[in-house]
Structure formats: structure tokens, C-alpha cells
Symmetry: C2
Subunit: 204 residues, 2 copies
């Protein structure tokens, strides 16, 4: 089986959970990283003018959580039990909702508009989403989002919290998650200490 | 098992595919329909201030495609094969992307702004999404989106095309799908003729 994952050339975003899952699962794949400068010419060759795109023996799959689920199953990082699978799916879909809230601000050219939008999110959407996600984690034993073990849901949440804590989200306090959902920071740190996650970021 | 699905009181939108799947699968459930007038008071009681919400023996699941997948498995309308499951997921996620594009226009109070936004979508996003989805359908035998049989992906696409053809989307030509993706209209009509879908809408 030949696997290629095409995504932007940075360690985060919608393509990162599948990269991490394949690394943890020992699945070899072509890590096709697109520099932003060549994206305009590659864009029209993607089905929905979006990344990530997964290719399995030349067959194409789009949509980040569809990719995460397929890769998660292949890498043994997805629950077999239907209810646990649903909880794993839900956590990933919640992160997609949050991503959909944040992404439009990337394209705001007026800094005042961007600042206002991000400050509004920091007051409303972020505490709502992160606080409820923290509740879910705590209800499930405060370790993992599903199946009482590491799944692609944990990787997707980890990548999001890593972004919040990176200092790269202008106009949003780098300590926001510590304040509104400290259990998610503890979860982030636990996943970050996972031996294969550490090894991955040592080499990327 | 006690199942309750809470969604808005109309025959469409993000809650409709799960309603249809449960009807087809013969799964009894409480069809909790929220009138828009009482939504403000119910809203704060939902985990993310959104519908649909599924309750299974009191346990809560949010996120429409997570719900569709769980209900799809329960109703035997979801593929077992991992790749076919991925194609089913992808079609549902594409419909979610399209929904996320359309929904902000519902809340535009300025009619000129709404008109401009919808006309822009009719020229760009709708042909792109619907055209590519049509390609997928045709590549897979032109009958179903996954597993060569009716799955929750078909129900989700059906509900969307039904909306496009309803005449309820102001400033978008009711024949847009016929023009940009006629195979999706044929798919819509085929699903619409499914005996249980017909029976459902005869009684709803």
C-alpha cells in the first residue's frame, strides 16, 4: 500500500493529526509538504481546492476528519466500539468547528478587524468550546477522549492546543487555555510527553 | 435503548439525515422538535449551543456527522469496509463544508448583502462542491456514494439537494443543481422514490 499525504509545510493544522498517527502507527508514507508559494499552482489540482488530501494507491480521499478516521483505523488509533468511536468522532468534529471559527481571521487584512474578531472569540467561542471539551475529558476519566487510550481524537485536540500555546495566534493570550480549560493543558502536556510524539518533534 | 434526537422543527437541515436513517432502520426514537420561538431558552442547555443533539439512554452526543455515523451503524446504513466507510464519511463532511458556507447567510439582515453572498456562492462554491460531488458519484457507478448501496452519505446529500430544489434558498436559482450537477438531481430523485423515504414524507 502506497500512502501519500499532501498538506502545507508546517507542523500543525488539519494535516498534522494524520502525520502523527502514521508516525505512531509505524506506517510509511510520502509526506508531501506544500510551500505556500507553490500552493496557488497546486490548488486547482485538488478536488475541493483544499488540503489535506490523502492518496492510497492513487485513490484520493479529502476532508481532514475522514482522513484522520481512515488513518486512525489503519494505525490502531481509532475505537472499535461504536459508542467510543462516536465520542472520538465528536471530539474531532468539535475541533473542526473551532478551526472553522478561527480560519477566516487568517485572511483578514485589516488588523483592527482581525483583532476585534479574535478578541471576540477569546471572550465567547473559545471558552465555550474549550470549557465543554474539558468537561468531556473529565467525565471520561481525565486522560483520553475515547476508549480510555490514545486515539486520533487526542492527536487532533493536541494539535489545536499546541497552536493556542504557540504564541502564534495574534491578539489571543497565550495562557487562554490555562485559564479556561486547564485540564486540556494537562492533556496536551501528557500527549506531548508520549515517547513517539517527542521523537516525532525531535526530528521535525 | 432509549433514543432521543433533538433538532429544529422542520424537515431538513443537519438533523434530518439521522431522522431518515432511524425511520428506514426501524429504530424507535423520540423526535424532539424545537420550535424557533423556544430555541433561545433551550440553547443554553445544549453542550455547544447547537443542534442536533442525540441522547442514548441519557448519554449525550453532539455534532451532526458524528450522530449520522453512530445512527448509520445502528441502522445498518454505514459501510463496514474501512475504505467505503471513508468515502461515506467524506461525502458527509463535504456536505458539512457546504452547510458551513450557506449558514452565515441565514443571519444576514441586509438583503443586499445576503443577495451578493448567495450570488457569489452560486457562481463559485456551489458549482465547485456540487460538480466534484457529482464526479465522485459517477466514478462510483452513479448510484450511491459508498458501498454500492444506500448509506447515511446518500441521505445527507439528498437532504442538501432537496433544500437546493425547494425554492427556499433566496437568490439562488432553483435549477442550479440541474445545471451544474444533473447526476445529483437524478440521485436525489432516486432516493426520493425509495419506498421508506416516500412513506416518511407522506407522514411528515
Amino acid at each position: 500500500m502506497t500512502i501519500k499525504l499532501t498538506y502545507f509545510d508546517f507542523n500543525g493544522g488539519r494535516g498534522e493529526p494524520a502525520r502523527l498517527a502514521m508516525y505512531i502507527g509505524g506506517i510509511e508514507f510520502e509526506d508531501d509538504r506544500i510551500a505556500m508559494e507553490i500552493w496557488p499552482e497546486r490548488k486547482m489540482g485538488t478536488p475541493f481546492h483544499q488540503l489535506p488530501v490523502l492518496e492510497i494507491d492513487g485513490k484520493v480521499l479529502t476532508q481532514s476528519n475522514s482522513i484522520n478516521r481512515y488513518i486512525g483505523r489503519t494505525a490502531m488509533l481509532y475505537p472499535d466500539d461504536p459508542w467510543q468511536a462516536a465520542l472520538c468522532d465528536e471530539a474531532m468534529d468539535i475541533m473542526e468547528d473551532l478551526t472553522n471559527i478561527i480560519v477566516p481571521t487568517f485572511f483578514m487584512e485589516d488588523e483592527n478587524e482581525k483583532r476585534a474578531a479574535r478578541e471576540e472569540m477569546a471572550k465567547n467561542a473559545f471558552p465555550l468550546y474549550l470549557g465543554q471539551l474539558q468537561n468531556y475529558l473529565q467525565e471520561r476519566g481525565n486522560r483520553y477522549f475515547a476508549d480510555d487510550r490514545l486515539t486520533v481524537a487526542d492527536l487532533k485536540v493536541f494539535v489545536m492546543i499546541r497552536y493556542f500555546k504557540s504564541g502564534l495566534m495574534d491578539y489571543v493570550d497565550v495562557n487562554l487555555v490555562d485559564e479556561v480549560a486547564p485540564a486540556l493543558v494537562a492533556h496536551f502536556e501528557r500527549v506531548n510527553e508520549h515517547s513517539q510524539i517527542k521523537a516525532y518533534y525531535d526530528s521535525h
